[in-house]
């Protein structure tokens, strides 16, 4: 072994094939290893075998693992700001940032607002790479040609803000544990799901919900912030030599761009795969429907700002800055 060699332990709650938090995480690990001439190695246990949805914060906070692909979307009550913004799709602004920019915006907000870092610091965590998810779409058991078709259908829902967005599509939000979603679609307990094309394809939901409906006129709009991030235990980071810290930081920064590109590809590829596997054409929302939907739905970004203010966070300031950053990136 070399004089300055380190092995970092990592964990991932989903199978290794999940691009957002698995493939990109492995790529990040590989690049760090390559950049350090093999001095840093990252061993990742995938598939929830080591850490699962409910315990991956405890695992990284305690230093049982050194790195993790962490999902703030599942901890809205502990990672308040991120947790809120990852559960919102901005359909109200005239334009939204592309997947490539979402990661950069996420990182920028982190660096500008202390509250983001404090929430991580409280759990001994350091945010390294925001990982955007491909945009949420609708998949149903029966064909959907427009918004009117969705009326009264039962759609799987979760979180604080999604149900509101879904209700204004005209559907009835239903909670079903994700492990039972496939069965619920096949038995007709629910009619539709609202999730990402890559999640639909990798969980085989298209076998029971083969009609994909995009809630947008072209591409579906992405989540306001990244649902997952690559994070590191702060002590593990501090223990690295200065040279190694620089490698981790540099690779992480580069990965923000790479992740955006990969997820854009994943979105397009997954839709193509879904079209091929089901033989059904993907249907987009009409301009008129989209206009109706966004004008009927209360602006959840403003709602989140208000909710955060009530909880003692600078919600208004963050959301204003968020909108500014989005405007910068779309121009």
């Amino acid at each position: 072994a070399k004089a300055d060699s380190t092995t970092l332990r990592g964990a991932h709650i989903y199978p290794a094939t999940y691009v957002q938090s698995g493939v990109i995480y492995e790529k990040w690990a590989e690049e760090i290893s390559a950049e350090s001439d093999g001095e840093i190695k990252v061993n990742i246990v995938h598939g929830g075998a080591l850490l699962g949805v409910k315990d991956h914060v405890d695992g990284i906070a305690s230093g049982l693992v050194d790195t993790v692909s962490f999902y703030p979307i599942y901890f809205p009550g502990e990672f308040r700001v991120e947790g809120a913004l990852t559960n919102i799709t901005d359909v109200w602004s005239a334009e939204t940032a592309s997947l490539q920019s979402i990661g950069a915006i996420h990182a920028q907000l982190h660096s500008e607002f202390e509250v983001f870092q404090q929430e991580y610091a409280k759990r001994n965590m350091r945010m390294l790479v925001p990982l955007p998810v491909d945009p949420y779409v609708v998949a149903c058991a029966e064909p959907v040609k427009d918004l009117a078709d969705l009326k009264g259908r039962k759609m799987r829902s979760f979180g604080r803000y999604f149900p509101i967005l879904q209700e204004h599509m005209g559907v009835e939000p239903i909670s079903v544990p994700s492990s039972e979603a496939y069965g619920a679609l096949s038995s007709g307990l629910i009619d539709c799901i609202y999730t990402t094309p890559s999640f639909i394809y990798s969980n085989k939901f298209h076998e029971v919900a083969p009609y994909v409906f995009i809630p947008g006129t072209e591409q579906a709009r992405p989540q306001a912030l990244c649902t997952a991030v690559i994070a590191m235990n702060s002590n593990s980071y501090d223990k690295l030599s200065d040279a190694h810290k620089k490698i981790v930081d540099d690779v992480s920064e580069r990965m923000i761009v790479v992740a955006g590109e990969m997820m854009t590809t994943v979105y397009n590829d997954s839709l193509a795969q879904l079209e091929e596997a089901t033989g059904n054409k993907i249907v987009h929302m009409t301009e008129a429907d989209f206009a109706d939907w966004r004008s009927n739905t209360p602006n959840l970004l403003d709602q989140a700002a208000e909710d955060l203010e009530k909880e003692g966070y600078p919600g208004a300031e963050i959301i204003t800055r968020y909108k500014e950053l989005v405007a910068n990136y779309t121009n």
Partner: protein
């Protein structure tokens, strides 16, 4: 594999074995052994103990596990309403003359529960509460009865609905629809083989399953009409599932409501009785869940140690002929199944195994079914079989030795079946091919 880690692993296994023999509760054994393991690897007490409370929270707040107490409660209330007794009266009068008849009926009822739930432990718990007292009433051998219940509980994984097959589909990127139908024929064959096995044993040694007298046709018919309520409960649960009225988790709560309703109509339940049943259920549930928590922690430690990966590497690099490789897989998975629950096994091994099985030309759907059967076998293999201990949890007066030895004949049947599936993969693949 790092020799230091291997050393730690051996220490952990030795401590686990010692504690197990010292009669420490199995869940505690697994939790303590894995915590020591985490400590030896990380050198940090905080890191080693960090998962104790989160895993406990994860298990006890996870809705799919709610099926276990609901089914226990349903079994308790159903027994107190008399509908279970009616069911077994009918079975006795109908097939009591057949060697092993009532045990075979139990096996079929388990398959019925398997069509409602994907959790072997919940099916075992329900049948332990429902069928064991009845089999004892008809003086069936305790080993035979316990074996039949613990082994038949495993049908739940292979007969749809099955969370395990769904999870395999996601990890292996195979059609979940095909996997679910692929389980039907092997599941059905297992039911038949188990039944035949019990029939033959009871023929050879009639004292295992005392045969009943012949009953007049009229009495048989009357008894079967009286058994209708219980069959109606099962039919309601399965029907509600297929019709999209409830999910498997909800169905278990629906089942409790249905048997309560029957009890109220028959005026055979009292409020006091229901409250007592609630408490009784929680005592058993807590015992079983401590086991699940320990098992999950231990699985996390094995994943952490990297031992599974190392063993898989050894098996793969040995470049064995297919049949020998298959035999190695059987041993490997049964050993894993001994400690771990199904989801951890799949998450840990399938990504490593799939490429090699595909090189051998094995169909991934076939492999999924074989894997689930192996996991089922693991669940009834000592030292740590989740089904064995679940039955022990609901029937504390039955010695674990009786349950384990009772499972042996079923265990052997399953191994034989595996080789049958190996020789004739079409048994698994015929339905999925018809579907597509």
């Amino acid at each position: 594999m790092d020799p230091e880690i291997l050393q730690i692993l051996l220490i952990v296994l030795a401590i686990g074995a010692a504690l197990l023999v010292a009669s420490v509760p199995v869940g505690v054994v697994l939790a303590v052994a894995s915590t020591i393991g985490f400590y030896l690897v990380t050198g940090s007490f905080g890191a080693a103990t960090s998962l104790l409370q989160s895993t406990s929270f994860d298990v006890t707040s996870s809705l799919p596990y709610l099926v276990i107490p609901m089914f226990i409660l349903m079994g308790l209330i159903a027994s107190s309403t008399g509908i279970v007794k009616d069911l077994f009266d009918a079975a006795y009068k109908l097939v009591g003359r057949v060697s092993g008849g009532v045990a075979i009926a139990t096996c079929l009822a388990s398959a019925g529960f398997g069509a409602v739930t994907g959790s072997s432990m919940s099916a075992t718990a329900a049948m332990g509460k429902i069928a064991l007292p009845e089999l004892r009433r008809y003086k069936y051998d305790l080993k035979l009865s316990a074996g039949a219940i613990a082994a038949s509980g495993t049908f739940a994984m292979i007969i749809p609905p099955s969370l395990v097959l769904v999870f395999y589909g996601i990890v292996a990127q195979e059609s979940i629809g095909k996997l679910l139908v692929a389980g039907l024929v092997p599941g059905g064959i297992t039911v038949v083989v188990y039944s035949l096995q019990m029939y033959v044993r009871a023929r050879i040694r009639p004292e295992l399953a005392p045969r009943g007298p012949a009953f007049p046709m009229r009495e048989v018919v009357v008894a079967n009409v009286r058994a209708a309520p219980f069959l109606l409960v099962l039919a309601t649960l399965i029907g509600g599932l297929l019709a999209g009225i409830w999910t498997p988790t909800e169905a278990s709560a629906g089942g409790v409501a249905v048997v309560l309703l029957i009890g109220v109509l028959k005026k055979s339940v009292t409020l006091r009785g229901v409250l007592e049943a609630g408490k009784d259920t929680m005592v058993t549930t807590a015992a079983v869940f401590l086991l699940v928590i320990g098992s999950i922690l231990f699985g996390k430690f094995l994943a952490f140690s990297g031992v599974t990966q190392a063993v898989v590497d050894v098996i793969i690099s040995a470049d064995l002929p297919p049949l020998v490789f298959f035999a190695c897989l059987i041993v490997f998975y049964i050993v894993l199944g001994t400690f771990l629950e199904a989801i951890s096994i799949i998450a840990l091994t399938v990504p490593l195994m799939l490429p090699i099985t595909q090189q051998l030309g094995w169909d991934p759907i076939w492999f999924g079914i074989v894997l689930v059967k192996l996991i089922e076998i693991g669940a009834m293999t000592p030292p740590v079989g989740l089904n064995l201990y679940t039955l022990k949890g609901v029937a504390p007066d039955v010695p674990i030795k009786t349950i384990v030895t009772g499972c042996v004949p079923f265990w052997l049947c399953d191994i034989a079946l595996l080789f049958l599936l190996y020789a004739i993969p079409e048994i698994v693949l015929i339905l999925p091919r018809l579907v597509s």
